[in-house]
């Protein structure tokens, strides 16, 4: 066995969305990092939908960016369409969604990795993790090379014992027919990990020039300065956006699916893994909602450099001939040429209750896991975890305290807390409704929430930090002005207000008070006080949200104070739950398995009751008094 001469501080297995963030953060924080991936032509590859963002997911991309990650930059540079969703539903839930040119996305990210001086990117199929005395030592590849490293981050996506299913046919493979990582799964089990089986699916791809777009409804992008990265705020919006197109299935489509339902692996028992409810296959939708006569299909371009089109809404693992015939029943797709069939993929995932909030595994010191292998779905969720795993591997090498984001700080915090505390029974997708403090976890303030942390750990670039500080100063300065400037109840003022559909004044009030009114916008304030400075759109938006939402935000802040009290009550590492009196057996077992970091986290474990928490608090208090 050949031992590679260079030994690494961090080894990342897999160069998907989690792996790239993990590797870049560890390298930028100063550690010699190696990335091993099965196929160098699939770095940061998008095997499913060629898009990024949307509610909660877009928020995560902003958070990655605010901490100093790469995803925001990469999508900003390679998107071919962008939209701001939920604009009328309120600032807290507004989110960017972009169509990526998936070829460019991959190529650009690969280049960024290659250019990072502390980072080596290599092709290699990892078959084994090397563990000595409970500590990670390195990895071994299929071609017989041993790489030694102090920390290993496992970001293998859906490759662990990957199995592709199309109708009656199954193959051992990762997404897009790449090699499946079979041995590695076994190596993990040998090292004591419990694995579960999940399933996900992807729709067929079709050739663009065979689509009759006339019969579909175009879905153009939005104009304006819309970017994921805070560094690109205020830049001119992207040009030459490509539209998506909307069409629908119909009763004929459903009839074909129903006739062939006995051949659907989902129903014939071929598929064992648990699939996601939020992304059901078309056969699943047709069976579960028999009264719905039509389902939406979004036709999305995959890249400027190909005619291939992605059919969002149509994941399927029906046999290829069935896919072919039902596709041609769909309006606009009557003559369509299918170039790749849809498929389902089954893969092993780690039961995340075996992880700490740092994403380090409990069993093996120095081994971290992140991304789809942790049972999540989505590029953004993967990226967020990869970033945290990379940061924590680096912080641990530095001997510094880990970065743990809590539920009141970031969606990434909600995500990891859910995974580690509760585990997941299906591929986990982030939803804004999973966050208790949604009004504070906005996409516009991700920088305020996280950039100081990104700076502290040494990941945020000087440039981005400078921009951040300038923006904060501007916000404070303008807020001060709005509080200071008084508007008098003159007839002119009242006339302006009435024009805006707002009530007149009868005593002097500050501009801030006026801005609080829902109907008043920043532009209206300029009418009242032309002397106000010119400010960036990002600053305007943030001021508007904080002022108009103040009451609700204060309420959530009070709830957060309450939440933090138990969150800050840390449970000692060496706590022996057998010694805690009065715990119910179920609670004792769960606490032993999850090993929560704080009393707050303990309270979120399914099966731990408020009475158990009281017993735990009493135990801690007694210990404190005895010490």
């Amino acid at each position: 066995m050949f031992v590679y001469p260079q030994s690494y501080q961090v080894i990342v297995i897999g160069a998907g969305h989690a792996g790239c963030e993990a590797a870049l953060s560890a390298a930028k924080m100063g550690f010699k990092t190696l990335v091993l991936t099965i196929d160098l032509d699939h770095v940061a590859f998008m095997p499913c939908n060629p898009s990024l963002g949307g509610p909660a997911k877009g928020h995560i991309v902003r958070e990655i960016d605010a901490l100093g990650g790469e995803m925001g930059h990469n999508i900003d540079a390679t998107m071919i369409q962008v939209r701001m969703l939920n604009t009328r539903k309120g600032p807290a839930v507004q989110a960017l969604r972009a169509q990526a040119d998936k070829k460019k996305y991959h190529l650009r990210m690969k280049k960024v990795l290659e250019e990072e001086s502390n980072l080596d990117l290599k092709q290699g199929l990892v078959t084994k993790i090397l563990v000595e005395e409970g500590k990670i030592r390195g990895v071994e590849t299929a071609t017989g090379i041993k790489y030694l490293g102090q920390k290993v981050i496992l970001t293998t996506g859906t490759f662990l014992r990957g199995r592709i299913i199309i109708g009656e046919k199954t193959f051992e493979a990762g997404p897009n027919q790449q090699l499946s990582a079979k041995e590695l799964s076994r190596s993990l089990q040998e090292n004591g990990f419990t694995l579960k089986r999940f399933k996900t699916g992807t729709p067929p791809r079709v050739l663009g020039r065979t689509i009759d777009y006339e019969k579909t409804e175009p879905q153009p992008g939005h104009s304006g300065s819309l970017f994921f990265s805070f560094m690109h705020e205020g830049r001119e919006g992207i040009q030459g956006q490509l539209p998506c197109h909307l069409t629908h299935t119909n009763p004929r489509t459903h009839a074909i699916i129903n006739e062939n339902i006995h051949r659907a692996p989902l129903f014939s028992g071929v598929i064992e893994g648990t699939g996601p409810r939020y992304c059901p296959s078309i056969e699943d939708k047709v069976v579960s909602f028999p009264n719905k006569n039509s389902h939406q299909i979004f036709i999305e371009p995959e890249s400027l450099s190909t005619q291939e089109m992605y059919l969002s809404g149509l994941p399927t693992s029906l046999p290829e001939d069935v896919q072919f015939s039902f596709l041609r029943t769909i309006t606009g797709l009557e003559r369509v040429d299918m170039v790749r069939p849809g498929y389902a993929i089954e893969y092993d995932v780690i039961d995340t209750r075996q992880l700490n909030l740092t994403l380090e595994t409990m069993h093996i010191e120095g081994l971290f896991t992140a991304g789809q292998v942790n049972g999540t779905s989505g590029y953004e969720e993967a990226g967020g975890q990869g970033l945290i795993a990379g940061i924590n591997a680096a912080l641990s090498l530095k001997g510094e305290a880990p970065l743990i984001l809590d539920r009141a700080q970031a969606y990434i915090g909600v995500l990891i807390d859910d995974l580690v505390t509760k585990g997941t029974e299906e591929p986990y997708r982030m939803l804004t409704s999973r966050a208790e403090y949604r009004l504070l976890l906005r996409q516009d303030n991700a920088d305020q929430r996280l950039s100081p942390l990104g700076r502290k750990i040494g990941l945020l670039s000087d440039n981005q930090w400078k921009l951040f500080q300038e923006k904060q100063q501007e916000i404070e300065m303008v807020l001060g002005l709005l509080e200071k400037i008084q508007v008098k109840p003159t007839p002119e003022v009242n006339e302006i207000l009435q024009e805006k559909g707002s009530g007149g004044l009868n005593k002097p009030v500050s501009l801030k008070e006026i801005f609080r009114r829902p109907e008043i916008t920043w532009v209206d304030l300029l009418d009242l006080e032309p002397e106000l400075p010119k400010i960036r759109k990002g600053v305007q938006e943030q001021l508007e949200t904080t002022i108009k939402y103040e009451g609700y935000i204060e309420r959530q802040k009070r709830e957060i104070e309450h939440f933090k009290k138990l969150e800050n009550k840390l449970l000692p590492d060496e706590i022996n739950y057998e010694e805690v009196p009065n715990l119910r057996t179920e609670a004792r077992e769960k606490l032993k398995a999850v090993r929560p970091r704080s009393v707050g986290q303990a309270g979120r474990i399914n099966g731990v009751s408020p009475a158990d928490i009281t017993s735990l608090l009493i135990f801690l208090e007694r210990k404190k008094r005895n010490d």
Binding site: P55, R277, K292, I618
Partner: protein, 459 residues
């Protein structure tokens, strides 16, 4: 468990006639009691020394209406049972005023203490040793179990059916909002934004109805406050005596005989009635009598039921007119007395305000028509329609319903005023949280389950 807020609870088991103690603990407890406590020496609770007592009155701070005369015992942190600032309010007016005091404290921002919470605070503030504290955990467990049994009992009652129906509606609205927020590009069948307001209004109405029964539920437990009013000499005291079956109140032919109200409890087919005879209503210069009349007006506010007595032998006077305007029609019955004599009264004036079965004709002296009065009172209290089956009688439930109602109102008003969905959802979640205190349902249960079972999601 939050130890920063101020909690209050009855410290003595409820029972008629006993001295009652209300315990208040927490950083704001002195301030909270000061808000409603008045005493001749103008002493402020927070300025009083630890373990000293003061005599005074507990009054509603805005209207000034008296709840009870009390003794307060003041304790300063850490020298108290819980180790926090504390006040004990000792009332002697029985359960009704005690309840009123507790409600005033809760209105002022105190929170109703959980079972065992005073003891738990005592432990965490180092006021108790472990053995005691562990006993408390047992008590908490036992109480929870007991609470569970209660909850199960409630489940069979119509209150929880109503609460369940309301929370189902709110869940539907919530699932719709959350789905449309998290899946903005999906089609959501089954509900539309127009339904939204209808749903919320329906819930609002149901909660209001349930809350309206609170006073009735409470009344049933604690006695229905029934006040007899009317001009001097119409026969109010005679009516009291007749319903009571004994000569309790002084009866003379001199108008203004009753100067101060007289209270007696009678049992009306199992319903406890607290019957109150009052000084006659009239414009007067007599200071003592004036005081009596003022008191009567206040009494009316706090009554569950009012018997407005008219004298059939005299005409319908301006004072009668005024009385009928003052009393709330929803909780009043008109009693026309002295029908054994010649009838002079013109009833056409009343008929607009009251329906026929709300006007009763009696002779209090001869005992004529009393059965009708009893029947009418009973019907008023128990009612006949279906919704009347709901009785909110527990203060905790009342608080939860009130909280839910407030949130639903905020959500609906917000929605009407164009407040964005992300905020409206906060109030809907707030309402569900309140209702959850009755049903035991929590929102932390996976909301996504609701979304995916209701809507076909996924692109």
């Amino acid at each position: 468990m939050n130890r920063e807020d101020t909690i209050a609870a009855l410290a003595t088991p409820p029972g008629i006639g006993a001295l009652g103690i209300i315990r208040v603990s927490g950083p704001e407890s002195h301030k909270q009691v000061d808000r409603i406590f008045q005493n001749p020496q103008q002493k402020k609770i927070k300025e009083m020394k630890g373990y000293t007592a003061a005599y005074g009155r507990i009054c509603e701070p805005e209207s000034g209406s008296l709840a009870d005369e009390v003794v307060v015992l003041v304790m300063h942190a850490p020298h108290s049972y819980t180790g926090e600032n504390m006040v004990e309010i000792i009332g002697h007016g029985g359960p009704v005023p005690l309840q009123a005091i507790l409600e005033l404290l809760l209105d002022g921002g105190a929170r109703l203490a959980e079972p065992g919470e005073f003891t738990r605070r005592a432990f965490f503030n180092g006021k108790m040793d472990l053995a005691q504290a562990e006993a408390v955990v047992d008590v908490i467990e036992a109480k929870t179990r007991q609470g569970l049994q209660l909850a199960l009992d409630q489940l069979e009652g119509s209150l929880s059916r109503l609460v369940k129906a309301s929370s189902d509606r709110l869940w539907e609205v919530l699932a719709y909002c959350e789905a449309s927020i998290d899946f903005p590009e999906d089609e959501l069948d089954g509900m539309s934004l127009e339904d939204f307001e209808t749903y919320l209004k329906r819930v609002e109405g149901d909660l209001e109805d349930a809350l309206a029964t609170y006073s009735r539920g409470k009344a049933l437990r604690e006695g229905v406050r029934t006040t007899i009013i009317g001009r001097p000499n119409v026969g109010k005291s005679t009516l009291l005596n007749a319903l009571l079956g004994e000569e309790r109140a002084l009866v003379t032919s001199v108008p203004g005989t009753t100067r101060d109200s007289v209270e007696e409890i009678i049992n009306l087919d199992g319903i406890p009635l607290r019957l109150i005879d009052t000084a006659g209503l009239r414009e007067t210069e007599d200071e003592v009598e004036k005081l009596g009349v003022d008191r009567t007006l206040k009494l009316l506010e706090r009554s569950d039921l009012i018997l407005a007595v008219l004298d059939s032998t005299t005409g319908f006077t301006a004072e009668d007119e005024k009385m009928l305007e003052t009393i709330p029609p929803g909780k009043s019955l008109v009693v026309v007395n002295k029908i054994d004599l010649e009838e002079k009264i013109d009833l056409s004036r009343i008929k607009g305000h009251f329906s026929e079965d709300e006007i009763l004709f009696i002779s209090a002296r001869e005992g004529q028509g009393l059965a009708n009065v009893r029947a009418a009172i009973k019907k008023r209290i128990i009612g006949t329609s279906e919704k009347e089956g709901i009785w909110v009688s527990n203060l905790r439930h009342e608080r939860a319903l009130k909280g839910a109602l407030k949130s639903v109102q905020a959500a609906r008003e917000g929605w009407e005023q164009g407040v964005t969905m992300d905020l409206v959802v906060v109030d809907i979640r707030g309402a569900l949280h309140c209702l959850g205190q009755i049903t035991g349902e929590t929102i932390s249960q996976d909301i996504s389950r609701e979304i995916f079972s209701r809507f076909c999601i996924g692109k």
